[in-house]
Symmetry: C4
Subunit: 213 residues, 4 copies
């Protein structure tokens, strides 16, 4: 068995564990940000969970890099894997890839293709919006003059940003919060654009079909 | 006559009554929200109308569920019917389905297909915007610090949200108002996107046709 | 010569005069709104110009209605002509139709089709934005608490509305100003959407062409 | 060798120098705007750099005009070259044209076409956003009542404008700043629309491909 094959087997076997780890990472971050009076013991525990799961991603990436035949090519084609190490909050997006692969293994997928596209990009937008809400709430809540006072404010801000409505009643003011906002604008707008676009085109197509019968 | 056939006959026969009930529901909600000094007697009357029409939707849904041969499939394929029971303000959207079916029964529909798509999605966006304006006005008008003071404010907010303009001079601040806002953003943006998109494509197509002659 | 033919000849002959009248109407409205200390004499003069040009549109519409063989059909198919009588500020949009017809009379139009679509819809958006700026400035400038203090504010508001940016630093607050705003949102968004959409698609197509050579 | 051929040779030879000059112009403008306590000597130096590089563009345009056989046609077809003389901050956009030409000279370009479209329009939007941030920061920072206090504010404003989010927490108030804003809205919205649109279409296409295998 050659190295490339071994790497691929490894990727398939490790997938469910990494997915669980990524959800655990999001959960640990959410608990640390959202639970107000966390006791020092629990705080240490959840920090540890964050650190260990993040360490797992790093270790797994390095292991695959070492096993790879052509390392330069690996770094270039797997730039997304490197990105989710730097921004681990984006990691749960792999949930979609995993679910999609499971769906395609079945002979008759339960959802039509168009519905799946909407479901997956919608789910990705939801995860991204949730992660951005957490990050902005974390960075902004104690900033002087901030308009992000509760987690509900942060979610409301994420909604109005993702749909490009942009009320401006709630906006980040710290540099880190604004960087998160800029990422959400560009990435999220494309994702929500894909959902809205496919819903619109589905609407138009359905009317057209009915018009022909 | 088998059960499935009976269910279909029932759906066809009950359609106009349910449509009338859904418009009555919207009207009763509008009266309760918009008429300022409603006497206790009238208030009780319109509350009763709301309750009875809503009860009718529930009863009709349960009846169809019982008559159905494959109940699991019924729940899964008719999820839209379940949704309009939870959010009865969305019920009048069925008006469009009914009108479209009536149009298609004619040999020569009066409107071209493209115009019909624009008319239906436009009407749906209008109904959705009106229902959202009512709900937001209802939830926000007495909230401290609210910017939604008159029904006109609520309609203006709905307009700027549906077109994703999002001025932010009028925005909901209560949790329920913001949930309504988020629903309007996602659903309404897609509907208005469909109208604007088909108008744009009609414009472009018309220019192209003129360019060829 | 039959009646329908006579109506068509009339339309062709009257076109340049009506176009001049529509530009005169826009100019007279602009002067009344924008020139600050207009003397009573000039004010009366420009009011007269507005009134006479508008009366011309009404008379011309009625004349064509009388000359028409099938009046119901005339009202139905020429609803745009009725609209520009109610909202005469939209009248100059016919400039585009006229220019396009002149272009098509030539054997070799000077502009490519795509550029013409962009030019016409862009010009329409410009005219609509200018008319809406005038109307909003007219209605809002003396309203208490208004944010539209100068004509520049009104133009800036129109820009941010047409591109659906919607900053909200300048927004109409009077009912009439908000109705103008809602019309601008829906109509203008579609027009600008057509321009931006064709520019984007032109960009993408140009890159694709270059990629193939 | 005829004149037209000589002009083309000249364009090819001068390209790298002009590109370097355009980046130098942007850099000199950025230094003058962003470095706070610039000594008079350095200020004079960078002003000189701006002036010389801008003079180079003018000279090069005039030279090409003189060498051209059909001068009217030159002015008409090269209107973009005239535009970047009036607005030299747009000049670095030619970087994209140059890079694209270099890519196409290779037999096997390193990036797929779709990725290149996204990269080029994305880069153009980035350059445009950076130039607009500089210009707005330059015009607004000392204006009374301005919300653009730091360069970070200006970048944040450019982000929210380019994605049509338009929070409105930071907006230009001076006439020149607003003209910059209007240009950014129309041009940038089309560029970002192209990026977001191709990303969305790439997402949808990828899902579709996976659905077929």
């Amino acid at each position: 068995m050659d190295r490339e094959q071994r790497r691929r087997d490894w990727e398939r076997a490790s997938e469910p564990y990494l997915l669980a780890a990524s959800l655990l990472f999001l959960a640990s971050y959410a608990v640390q940000v959202l639970v107000p009076g966390l006791s020092p013991g629990w705080h240490a525990f959840w920090s540890l969970v964050s650190f260990v799961t993040w360490g797992l991603f790093v270790a797994e990436y390095l292991a695959r890099l070492v096993f790879s035949d052509d390392r330069k090519r690996f770094v270039r084609t797997r730039w997304l894997d490197l990105l989710v190490i730097v921004l681990p909050l984006l990691r749960p997006l792999r949930l979609i890839e995993t679910h999609d692969r499971m769906q395609r293994r079945r002979a008759h997928p339960r959802l039509a293709l168009e519905a799946r596209v909407m479901a997956y990009t919608g789910l990705a937008a939801l995860l991204l919006g949730f992660a951005a809400s957490l990050a902005v709430y974390h960075d902004e809540r104690y900033a002087p003059g901030s308009t992000v006072r509760t987690f509900g404010d942060a979610v409301w801000w994420a909604c109005s940003t993702l749909t490009t409505t942009g009320y401006g009643d709630v906006t980040p003011i710290t540099p880190r919060g604004r960087v998160t906002g800029a990422v959400l604008m560009v990435l999220g707008v494309a994702l929500v654009g894909a959902v809205v676009g496919s819903f619109s085109s589905w609407l138009l197509r359905r009317f057209r079909q009915e018009g022909e019968t």
